[in-house]
Subunit: 373 residues, 2 copies
C-alpha cells in the first residue's frame, strides 16, 4: 500500500470513522482503523461492535495511488498524527506488512500495524428500497427526542429511540418512564410491512455529529437486528435493541381540561430561575400555580430560601391548576420548541402534562407531574 | 439594609469576591458573601481562610441607598440569582435580619441570611510604602512562572511562587524540583529591607483572573505572614507559605558549552508531534540530537511505533549534543517565550537545560534532562 493524500481529505475521513473507535480496549483490534486502498479509492473502517462506520474516499480525491493494499492502524494515534502534521500532502507507505510509514516534510512516523485478518467483517448490507430522509429532518428528529432516552440499564429497551414506520409516516419516540418525547415526519416510502425498531440513542447522537450536508439525503436500511444509514460516501451501521418498545399511545390523551399558552422564552427563564433554589436530589421540583391570567412558579428549599416568579398567560377555560414537576425535565422539553409560544395541556394535577409547539403539530413532549400536596 | 443596584455592577463585584468562596464547606460561614452597606457604598467580602477578597462599590455607582446595614448571604446562590435575573436594576432588602429579599420585575427571591458575627475578620492592613507594579506586568510574571509550581504537597513550600525584592528588582521563581521558571522585573520601591516570601501559586492564578485593567497599577503590601494586593476598588489578601524557599541561584550556570538558536513555533510543533507517541507514565520523554546544523527530535514506544522530526538550527560552537527531556516540560517552557527565536543552552547531557527568550533577558526557564543512554 502506498499513496499520497491531502491532509484535510484524510482528516475528514478519519474523523468520521473515529466515532466508532472503541474506547474500552477490551478487544485490541477495535482500537484500530482499517485502511483498504483499491484502484477505486480508499476505504476507512472502524467499529466498536455497537456501531460500525465505513467511509470511502474516491481515487479522484487522492493525490496519487502508487500501490494498492490494506492494513489496520491504531486509530487514536493515526488521527492525532494527521491532525498535527503541517504539510498539505501526506505520504502513507506500508512497509513489510508490519509497519506503516507516515511522512510529510521533515516528519516521519513509523507505526506498528495491527493484524488485518482480526478486524471484524461488518457485513454492511443494503436494501433495495431504503427509506430516504433529508439530513436536516433526520437531525431535527434526533435532537428533539434523544434527550429523553433512559440512562439506566435496568430497562435496556428504554435507552433506545423507537422508530416506527407505517404507510408514509415515521414516528420517533423516546421515554425514560418519567417523560416522553415524540416526533413524527411524513416520508416517501415503498415499505409494505410496518417497521418497529429501537435504536440505541447514543449511537444516533454519534451519527448526527458526522452528518453535515443538511440538504442531502440519508438512507435508512432497516433489518431485524441492525440498521444501516448511508449518506454521501459514508455508511453507519448500528445494532438495534432486543425486546419490544412499550406502546406509549395509551399515555397520551386526546382531550384536555385546560390548555395554557405561554411565551416560550419567558417561561423557560422563569423555570430556570425558580430552579436555582432546587436540588437534584429533590428532582429539582418547582410548583406551577395558575390563577386566572397569572401564573406563579415557585420553589422552596427551607435551608436556603424560596423563590416566586410571576408571568402572564392565556388559557382556554376558567379552570385553574396547582401542579408540580421537575424543572429540569420541563426545560429539556422547552428547548425543543421552535415557536414563540408553547402550549401546556393539563388533565388535573396527577395526569401527564403535554407540552406542544404552537406551530409544529408533529412534536409532542410529555412529563409526569410530581405529587407534593 | 435596603438598596438598589444595576445588575452588571453587582455581578462584577460578586464575581470578584466569589474567587475566595470556600468550596470545601467545612466552615459553613465561608460559603457566604458578606454585604456591608454604608453611606459611602457597599463592601462585598469573601474568604476561604487561604485568600480573602474585599471589593467596594462606591455610593455613586449604586442606584439608591434607602437604609444601611449588613448581612451574609450564601455566595453561590447569590451569584447565580443575580446572573439569571433579567431586569437591569435589582432591589435588595434585609427583612428582620434573618432573610434577604432580592426582587426585580416579577421575580422575588427570599434567601436565608447567615450569622454576620460568625464571618471572620480579615484584618486587611495596608503599608505606608507598598510596592507598585503595572497590572499587565504583574499578570505577565504570574503567567510565565506559575505553571512550574509543584502540585505535590510533600514539600509545601514548592507549591508557592517565591517573590524576592532587593533594591529595584523583583524576582519571581517557581520550581517543582524538575524544572524552574524565573522572571525578573525592575520596579520602583522604597523598601529598605529585602523581601523574600513564597505565595501559594494557585492563589496568584485566582488573582490574575480578576485583574482586568492592564494599564492601572496594583499595590503589593507585604507582611511576614500575608500579602495584600490592592487594585481599583478591590483588596486581595493571601497567606504566605511557611519555611524558606530554596535558593536556586546555584542551579543556574553562568556559562554554557553550547547555545542553540531555534525558531520557537517550529520547535514547539516538532516537540508536540514527537510527543504524540510518548506517554505520561514514561514522563513523555523525547530525544534531542544535534548534528551540526541539523536537529533530530525523536521518540520511540516499542508497542506503538517511533517518530523522527528534523529541523535546521543555528549554534555557536562545533559542539554537538545528544540529550533527552520531558516534552511536556519543554512545551510548557516554550509557551512563555514571546520572541520569534528561542535559545537553548547546554552544558553536557546531564546538566540543566536553560531556555531563554532571545529578546527578553528577564525570563529564564530551566528543565532537567532525563538520562536514557
Amino acid at each position: 500500500m502506498k499513496f499520497q493524500i491531502k491532509k484535510e481529505v484524510f482528516l475528514k475521513g478519519l474523523n468520521n470513522v473515529s466515532k466508532a473507535l472503541s474506547t474500552k480496549n477490551l478487544i485490541p483490534i477495535l482500537s484500530g482503523i482499517k485502511l483498504n486502498l483499491t484502484n477505486e479509492g480508499l476505504f476507512l473502517t472502524a467499529s466498536d461492535n455497537d456501531i460500525g462506520i465505513e467511509t470511502f474516499i474516491p481515487a479522484d480525491k487522492l493525490e496519487k495511488i502508487e500501490e494498492t493494499g490494506k492494513t489496520v492502524i491504531q486509530g487514536r494515534y493515526l488521527l492525532e498524527i494527521i491532525r498535527k502534521l503541517e504539510s498539505s500532502v501526506i505520504n502513507i507507505t506500508l512497509l513489510d506488512d508490519i509497519k506503516v510509514l507516515i511522512s510529510c516534510g521533515k516528519s516521519e512516523f513509523n507505526l506498528n500495524c495491527m493484524e488485518y485478518d482480526e478486524f471484524p467483517n461488518l457485513n454492511m448490507e443494503e436494501q433495495k428500497d431504503p427509506i430516504v430522509i433529508k439530513e436536516e429532518d433526520f437531525k431535527d428528529i434526533i435532537n428533539k427526542v434523544s434527550f429523553a432516552v433512559s440512562t439506566q440499564e435496568t430497562r435496556p429497551i428504554l435507552t433506545g429511540i423507537n422508530f416506527k414506520i407505517k404507510d408514509d409516516k415515521l414516528e420517533c419516540v423516546s421515554t425514560d418512564s418519567y417523560r416522553l418525547a415524540k416526533k413524527t415526519l411524513k416520508i416517501e416510502s415503498n415499505i409494505k410491512e410496518e417497521v418497529n425498531v429501537a435504536i440505541p440513542g447514543k449511537n444516533l447522537i454519534e451519527l448526527t455529529k458526522i452528518l453535515e450536508n443538511d440538504k442531502k439525503n440519508i438512507e435508512m436500511h432497516i433489518f431485524s437486528n441492525k440498521v444501516l444509514f448511508k449518506f454521501e460516501n459514508t455508511m453507519f451501521q448500528t445494532r438495534v435493541l432486543g425486546g419490544n418498545f412499550p406502546n406509549v399511545e395509551r399515555l397520551i390523551p386526546d382531550t384536555f381540561e385546560l390548555v395554557v399558552k405561554l411565551n416560550k422564552n419567558e417561561f423557560y427563564n422563569v423555570i430556570d430561575r425558580a430552579a436555582l433554589l432546587t436540588s437534584e436530589k429533590d428532582k429539582n421540583i418547582v410548583k406551577f400555580e395558575l390563577n386566572d391570567g397569572e401564573l406563579l412558579v415557585s420553589s422552596n428549599t427551607p435551608e436556603i430560601g424560596k423563590v416566586e416568579e410571576k408571568m402572564s398567560v392565556e388559557k382556554n377555560t376558567d379552570e385553574n391548576i396547582k401542579i408540580a414537576f421537575s424543572s429540569r425535565f420541563m426545560m429539556d422539553a422547552l428547548r425543543t420548541i421552535n415557536s414563540e409560544d408553547v402550549l401546556l395541556n393539563f388533565n388535573g394535577d396527577v395526569k401527564p402534562i403535554i407540552i406542544l409547539d404552537e406551530r409544529d403539530k408533529n412534536l409532542l413532549q410529555l412529563i409526569l407531574p410530581i405529587k407534593t400536596y
